[in-house]
Amino acid sequence: MDAHPILSTIARVLHEEGLEAVLVGNAAAALHGAPVTTVDFDFLYRKTPANLRKLKAVAKALDATLLRPCYPASDLFRLMRDQDLLQLDFMGRIDGVRSIVGLRNRASRVNLGDHELLVASLVDIIRSKRAAGRPRDKAVLEILEKALHEKTQAPPHKA
């Protein structure tokens, strides 16, 4: 399924609500050319009271419900939309990434319609998945490493 319409809506809403979040996980890896699939979008953001207010506004704008499925074990916030089962996960921290500042500086800006979306670098995604070490992360590591290898070999794409 084409994620472009959803991604452009997310980019617009994040921009309108002023919430800075970096796309990580398999969705970000796929945008970097890795042939992987996912059912959700994972974001890393700075967990501050102001950003939590913005997150609530994002949920309202997307007509989604804000949940804390793993509370209190994890500070994960999940936005779920019943009509199409859209799922956005917002995490305050992820394995293998020390700070959001470094991740953001290395991230790519992808233009989706009128707004840009911050997408974590493939190196950071691989580092995070390796550090997480879950079977489902290990399962895609080889594919991500091959994509990274091909990306570094291939000449940069001309827009």
Partner: protein, 52 residues
Amino acid sequence: MKKRKRRLTKHEALKLETERALLEQIRRHLALPMEKRTHFLRKRIGFQASCL
């Protein structure tokens, strides 16, 4: 005497073919701009299942 090249077993041949197909798929994706590499979302069906 010249050594004869060993034929690949079915398993080895399949492994090579899988590898080649994967690299080809990655190269096809990399040939597109980032904003067009968006056919990755799986649609949820019910509680457990999903499809592309």
